[in-house]
Symmetry: none
Subunit: 220 residues, 4 copies
């Protein structure tokens, strides 16, 4: 007989102080949950594991999230926002891309930011890439779609500007560019790519996308 309306977190009429505290607490809990999800896997994680990890009672978690699912939703949402932010903070407007060299730099910069983010927030990214896949498949599809759309926009600009091939299938290439950094990110998550390696890999990706792997004088 669960007809009971969950008594909604009372819209507190006071200032935002309480709200801030609540938000801080939510973040603490979500972060802790993220760590445990990463260590044990989403399905194998009991709420008690999370509360133990945080050093709080199980009930406390339910004061801030409606359940395990809600917890994962927030983590995924947060991770997606961070990734999109990392990809977009590229100052495109600041220095418009007009040449092939700038295009390489742009791709390199984006790849570099993504790899660095994977390094800095490996737990969050690992949960997104590994755990959320099965738990929130649609969220992952949405993320890759958005990444691809943004990328396709850059490419269209390049074609228009003339520095990219006129016949470029921007949609397909955008997809390719989204996928191209994934294995490198996975290596970062496995600690197989240090600071220098990330930079080198980002540059390799930039050049590969721009000029391809073929020795120029062999290019048909």
């Amino acid at each position: 007989m669960r007809t009971t309306e969950k008594p909604r977190k009372s819209a507190n009429g006071a200032g935002s102080t309480d709200d801030d505290l609540t938000q801080r607490r939510r973040k603490e809990i979500a972060d802790g949950a993220c760590v445990v999800f990463d260590q044990r896997g989403y399905a194998n994680t009991r709420i008690a594991d999370i509360s133990d990890h945080l050093g709080v009672g199980q009930g406390t978690i339910y004061r801030y999230f409606t359940g395990k699912e809600d917890l994962m939703d927030h983590i995924v949402g947060h991770a997606v926002r961070r990734i999109l932010a990392a990809m977009r903070e590229d100052g495109v407007g600041d220095s418009p891309v007009r040449t092939a060299a700038q295009f390489v730099d742009q791709i390199t910069a984006v790849a570099h930011r993504l790899l660095d983010m994977a390094a800095r927030e490996s737990v969050l990214v690992r949960v997104l890439l590994v755990q959320a896949q099965a738990a929130r498949p649609d969220a992952i599809d949405d993320l890759t779609d958005q990444l691809a759309v943004t990328t396709a926009g850059y490419l269209a600009n390049g074609v228009e500007s003339g520095y990219l091939r006129e016949d470029l299938d921007t949609a397909a290439v955008a997809d390719a560019m989204v996928g191209i950094t994934m294995p490198a990110m996975r290596r970062v998550l496995r600690d197989q790519l240090d600071d220098a390696g990330r930079e080198a890999t980002a540059r390799t990706i930039g050049r590969l996308i721009a000029y391809g792997a073929v020795e120029p004088e062999f290019a048909s």
Copy 2:
């Protein structure tokens, strides 16, 4: 995750006929389980769901597999073998790659085979990419590692043959090539890429890897 000793499937002492029958049965069950895992997700799938789908008793499944985990192990192993086979059945020996054009064809062919496999065996591939991620993360890492190593071999051959840039970071580029088809595969799994689309996408990938996206006269 029982601590009790799993009663090992007795090495069956009978002839190979029985063994064949057993193998056939195992395959039937694994295939059925795969379909259900895909539909409901691994964690949400109950053994009863699988036995219902197969029209057998629950106990029967335990006569062929030690449990749900074992079932997923076999599916993952099978899927990995199929993917590796798809990537390698490229008849490299038949016609050695010696020119950039052949290189493009080779990449295009591999990408095409992977995309076609995703189309033909979408259930298997989807389970591998979506469900197995969380259930068997190491298996996925192993798969991508093997794909990368194989690819790196091809690339090394290209550098040696002279048609690929001398300074090519074969390891990084191999990783990139592994990742590059993933988004396209996901589109195939979402039915967003038909026969013709798969062929076009494969060719786009081949050309991108070989020559890059930049208009040649703008290069450098």
Copy 3:
């Protein structure tokens, strides 16, 4: 993520044997639950209490009922049917009531049957009267309504036949008659009314309804 359709008891295509077995099992479990609900109170009864009482696993109960609520529903439904049956098995058709004496006998008989039922099935009746009140208030209202309607029918017949006062408020009197045996039933449930006491009480009720408590020569 409880999207899972409960796999409905498969409509078994075979004969009714299995169905009978299932029904027998359901009855066993419902009966056991009834005893425990009576002893401990519905709210204080844990599923484990019931399964312990029955000597079965907790899961077994869920093979036959969807939960604690369902269990109570069945008990209440069964109890209501029994009570209505007890009240109606009065062979009205057999010997139509035509005189005041027959009317007394009829009321006496109904009251007697209700009291005897309370004695024979005290657990069932006690659960209905005590536990179901809070758990299924509507069911109790429905029951009393039906009892009242049936009773009102008898009374209307009596008015028509002439042996009951012409100005009788049949609805109100029906209600009164429904209530009049309740305290006696409660005494039966408390073992305060033995066989003879039940018979005497039933007759007292019959006479009271028919002739009232006032000494005739004092009437009006």
Copy 4:
């Protein structure tokens, strides 16, 4: 049902002012709890529901009652006292019953007072009749016992005075009289009996008890 010693409300050493305030507060809380118990059912009511309804903190309730059980105890006790008062405020001493007509008036008056009370304090009465049944079965038994004993006293007086049948089973008839208004009270609680209806029903009950339902000339 905690085994720990409930920290007894310290016998407050201060003046009676504080005591009055305390009593007022207790009453407010008990009244609020009563409303919520009625709306949601005792078992489904959380302390938070009550504190929300009252607009106070949960802890406040524990300053005035030791817990949910204690709250219900007080409500039941209060309700029982009110009902007994309603039944006894009949001014028996004022005008002793000596005739059948007075007897009818007396019964009618008592029934009327009970029905009016159910109308005026429907929440309290509904909680007593519906919720307390399962929560405090003994309290209900005690109440009906007391009502029956009081009633039996009146009847004994009537027999002695001669206006009631000499052979009247006063105990059984007292029980019957206690039960006879119950269905009508339930109708009042369900809003199925307005002011006039209650008066008419009370009179019907009075006459029924006194003279029965049988048309006098058909008697015997």
